[in-house]
């Protein structure tokens, strides 16, 4: 049994104001910019980004939580945006692949992915990079075994895996 077991199911969480089922006004902070949109409560964060905000960097590979292509950060934590409702991200900071570079200066992980040829078709790549950058920050890139485990939620059908590991190592080692 883990030390922080979840609150018992009988305990009520914070009651949110009821909205929907029709389109409602939602405000999201994405890559540091406040964005207002009118969406139905059932819209996923992934579809809100791709279909409503024209931020198509996060990819839809399965819409079922199995491929990792839709990985973005919410308050700095990795989430599968296809399994996250957009509305639940109000008041939080959403970071997508479009927000990773500093202007023209690519993030170290983005640079390393290019240098190591860590992708082919590029469709899994935004998700891979968002996962890789987060796990480097979290200190989960100690050795290859650890990288393999922590990166296994992001499928690359082009199978660039050895190069993805090389890119993560390069950033870890400051190469």
């Amino acid at each position: 049994m883990s030390a922080q077991s979840p609150a018992p199911l009988t305990e009520r969480g914070q009651v949110l104001e009821e909205r929907g089922p029709g389109p409602v006004a939602v405000t999201l902070s994405v890559n540091g910019v406040e964005r207002s949109l009118e969406i139905e409560p059932r819209v996923s964060l992934l579809d809100a980004l791709r279909e409503h905000l024209d931020l198509t960097g996060a990819k839809k590979g399965c819409d079922q939580g199995t491929c990792g292509a839709c990985t973005v950060w919410v308050d700095g934590h990795r989430v599968l945006s296809c399994l996250t409702l957009a509305m639940t991200c109000e008041g939080r900071e959403v970071t997508t692949i479009e927000g990773l570079a500093e202007g023209d200066e690519l993030h170290a992980v983005q640079q390393a992915f290019i240098a190591e040829d860590a992708f082919q078709c590029g469709y899994c790549t935004p998700g891979q990079i968002m996962s890789a950058a987060a796990l480097l920050k979290e200190g989960h890139a100690g050795d290859d075994a650890e990288i393999k485990e922590w990166m296994s939620g992001n499928i690359c059908r082009c199978a660039a895996y050895p190069h993805i590991r090389a890119a993560i190592r390069a950033v870890r080692d400051g190469a």
């Binding site: 579809d47 791709r50 992915f113 078709c121």
Partner: protein
């Protein structure tokens, strides 16, 4: 200082930046105002008839624009025949178009399209359709269809015969000192590129633009034009970025035309994206199959006969089998051979190309059988293959245009550390793990396109160049390597050249399938670039104001955009500016070698793998893989290695992970998701060592490029299966090898 040739340099991908910043736009990501969303509905049953569709609640939903079914979808103009898209003609994935009548041929067959103003509404309304069926018992599995099997006259869109024979197989097997007989079974496989197929369709009057995830924009254009009866000049297809294909986007499946039909129906642009589940029932697959192989050999290991029979299900409409006997019938010298396909009609869509279609499964059977033969004869596995090495195609007798196979064995073995291997199984143990190593040969045919391929090159007076061809880049790196080819052809630095692609408004290129892309596109681009260079040289030597005036054009060399003959030189930029000409342009075309050329063409390689097997849990871990390949000229070794590595890891999936099964009673795929259809993830993938053995080939195409997209997979699964035997002493003849096979 002059720049080195760009060809052969390990250049980074030219599309790297858009891909890592998320700005690359795939076909579902084109922002067109007013776009509506189409949701496909698939048949719940695998066999029968639709007796009714109640669309009233779906239609009543807010935002729903149309519900299209067989009752109201317009009929297609014409069903084009199934022809592989390399032919450069219409290339439907099957000769069946859905929603034309009430018959259900397979589970997941598209029976309705719901179009709405948002994706959520389209999806929800689709779930409200009430469809009733009259069901009949389906046939989907080998066991259900075996008794009705027939021998097709031709397979593979009519391109290949159903039976191949040479010599006398019975005599060849009768004279053998040793015989290996083995039957292999293979689960069906699905491509599962991470980008599900999507077509976004926009009409402007009677003109249509399609943004399509496709291996060939021209193939989409040609196919949709025939289905809709629309003139080719009025259809433009764009595919700038394609998120992987592996054959799923090689043929043009019905969703492309359906998107156009739906857009016409609702009078708005329509985006039609397949769901992940629909990727299992809409774009073809590698069929479930069984292969029986019999090898006969002399005591010293020379093959006297190979018999290779395959049984597999095909659709109600087409005689399709992936050509599993192809490479396996050609790679070794063997005078007596018989290969036969048998098919049975099943409730399935027509299977299709999937990476190394046929080569991967056929070579698995042959190379595992060769391993057994080596064991039986006590001949070292590489030595056995060398004894059967051939310099010429055993069927046509024509010499290989180039080979390199022996060098692949030698260099692969050296890198892997094969020498000194104890041939006995079950001898190496590390803790709980049994360790084994295995090897196999690899081969993939060089299949040129059927018609001429074109490209265009333009030089601007500021010294930058644009080179164009229609081909999409679905991850192969073609945009990068063609920039390199263009730079060398023009005599310019690569950073001043841009390659534009993925649009039917650009010069034609057949669909990049069968690993033919690099060869045929480089030929066209090289031809266009050198035509432009020659045009500019001709101009310079004729120009009274040029320092090169009067020089012999053949003496002029071009480097960094500067034309030089002896001590005189003139630059492209000076030439154009002096003549007040903003740009110059040339087209180039390449015609593939005639089919009767006295050469046989194949790309060769050798695969090595080391596995660890935990016999108590039946676990297999691939610890390392080495592959040595001879793909002719390597245009960009960095990208070529990535392609080959990807192929080898597909071999790992083939051997240990990838399987889809139909339920015999319902006829439905049992595991149509990425949670249940296992593909290799990072934790499965060992480090992969790729050795490139360059061989010169002046037959295949002007630059001698044989392609790297698929040969990496061929033989990889066999090397792993042979390593599993070496670790455990067990011959598993079922793909994928799973835990229960090793307990």
């Amino acid at each position: 200082m002059t720049t080195a040739p760009a060809i052969g340099q390990p250049l980074d991908r030219v599309d790297g930046r858009p891909k890592v910043t998320g700005t690359a736009r795939y076909s579902a990501e084109i922002p067109i105002p007013g776009t509506a969303y189409a949701c496909l509905v698939g048949s719940r049953v695998a066999s029968g008839r639709i007796t009714g569709i109640d669309a009233s609640s779906a239609q009543a939903e807010e935002g729903v624009l149309a519900v299209l079914t067989h009752q109201n979808l317009p009929r297609i103009a014409e069903q084009p025949p199934l022809v592989p898209s390399l032919a450069g003609t219409a290339a439907p994935g099957q000769t069946f178009f859905p929603m034309q009548d009430d018959i259900v041929h397979y589970a997941g067959q598209h029976i309705a399209i719901v179009v709405a103003d948002t994706w959520e509404r389209a999806q929800h309304a689709a779930s409200l359709l009430r469809v009733s069926y009259e069901e009949t018992p389906p046939v989907t599995t080998l066991e259900q269809g075996r008794d009705q099997a027939y021998e097709p006259e031709r397979i593979f869109g009519g391109w290949l015969p159903g039976r191949v024979e040479r010599g006398n197989i019975d005599a060849g097997l009768a004279e053998a000192d040793a015989r290996v007989e083995a039957t292999f079974t293979y689960a069906a496989n699905n491509h599962n590129p991470i980008e599900p197929s999507c077509t976004t369709a926009e009409w402007d009057g009677d003109e249509l633009v399609l943004y399509d995830s496709t291996q060939g924009v021209n193939a989409t254009q040609l196919t949709v034009a025939r289905l809709l009866g629309t003139p080719l000049s009025k259809i433009r297809v764009i595919g700038h970025y394609v998120g992987g294909s592996f054959g799923s986007k090689a043929m043009i499946h019905d969703h492309a035309a359906l998107a156009a039909m739906a857009a016409r129906e609702v009078g708005r642009p329509v985006k039609l994206a397949l769901s992940r589940e629909q990727m299992f029932t809409s774009v073809g697959h590698r069929e479930e199959q069984e292969q029986e192989i019999v090898l006969g050999a002399t005591r010293d290991g020379r093959l006297t006969g190979i018999r290779h029979h395959k049984l597999s299900p095909t659709s109600h409409f087409d005689d399709w089998a992936e050509p599993s006997i192809g490479v396996a019938s050609e790679i070794y010298a063997c005078p007596n051979y018989q290969g036969v396909y048998r098919l049975f009609r099943a409730n399935t869509m027509t299977p299709t190309f999937m990476r190394a279609p046929g080569e991967a499964s056929g070579m698995l059977a042959l190379e595992c059988a060769m391993d057994e033969l080596a064991q039986e004869l006590g001949v070292e596995p590489i030595e056995l293959r060398l004894r059967n090495y051939t310099d010429a195609s055993p069927s046509s007798g024509h010499p290989w245009s180039s080979s390199g196979l022996r060098e692949c064995y030698r260099r692969g073995a050296a890198r892997f550390g094969w020498e000194g291997r104890d041939p006995r199984p079950g001898m190496r143990r590390e803790g709980n793990w049994l360790i084994g190593t295995g090897m196999a040969s690899a081969g993939y045919p060089v299949a040129p396109p059927a018609n001429p391929q074109r490209a265009r090159a333009r030089l601007y007076a500021d010294g930058t160049a644009l080179v164009q061809a229609a081909t999409p880049d679905f991850g192969t790196g073609v945009a990068t390597v063609m920039t390199q080819v263009a730079a060398d052809g023009l005599g310019m630095p690569v950073d001043r050249c841009r390659f534009e692609n993925g649009d039917t408004d650009l010069p034609n290129i057949a669909a990049a399938v069968g690993s033919a892309g690099a060869g045929m596109i480089s030929a066209a681009v090289h031809s266009a670039a050198t035509a432009l260079r020659n045009q500019l040289i001709a101009r310079a030597v004729a120009d009274a104001n040029s320092p090169l005036h009067g020089a012999n054009p053949v003496d002029v060399v071009v480097r960094d955009g500067v034309m030089t003959a002896g001590t005189a030189s003139d630059s492209y930029v000076d030439l154009l500016q002096r003549n007040v000409q903003p740009d110059a342009e040339a087209s180039g075309a390449w015609s593939p070698p005639a089919g009767d050329a006295p050469y046989a063409m194949m790309t060769f390689g050798a695969q090595f793998a080391e596995v660890a097997v935990d016999p108590e849990f039946g676990l297999v871990r691939v610890r390392r893989m080495t592959g040595a390949f001879a793909p002719g000229r390597v245009l960009n070794p960095k990208l070529a290695r990535s392609q080959l590595m990807g192929g080898m890891l597909w071999g790992l999936g083939q051997a240990l992970l990838e399987a889809n099964y139909t339920h015999p009673r319902t006829g439905r795929w049992a595991n149509a998701s990425l949670g249940e259809y296992l593909v290799a993830v990072n934790a499965d993938a060992p480090d992969v060592d790729v050795e490139l053995v360059e061989v010169e080939d002046d037959i295949v195409n002007p630059l001698g490029v044989k392609g790297v997209g698929e040969v990496g997979q061929v033989g990889a699964a066999a090397a792993i299966a042979n390593a599993v035997w070496h670790a455990t002493g067990r011959r598993v003849r079922k793909m994928p090898i799973t835990i229960e096979d090793l307990l």
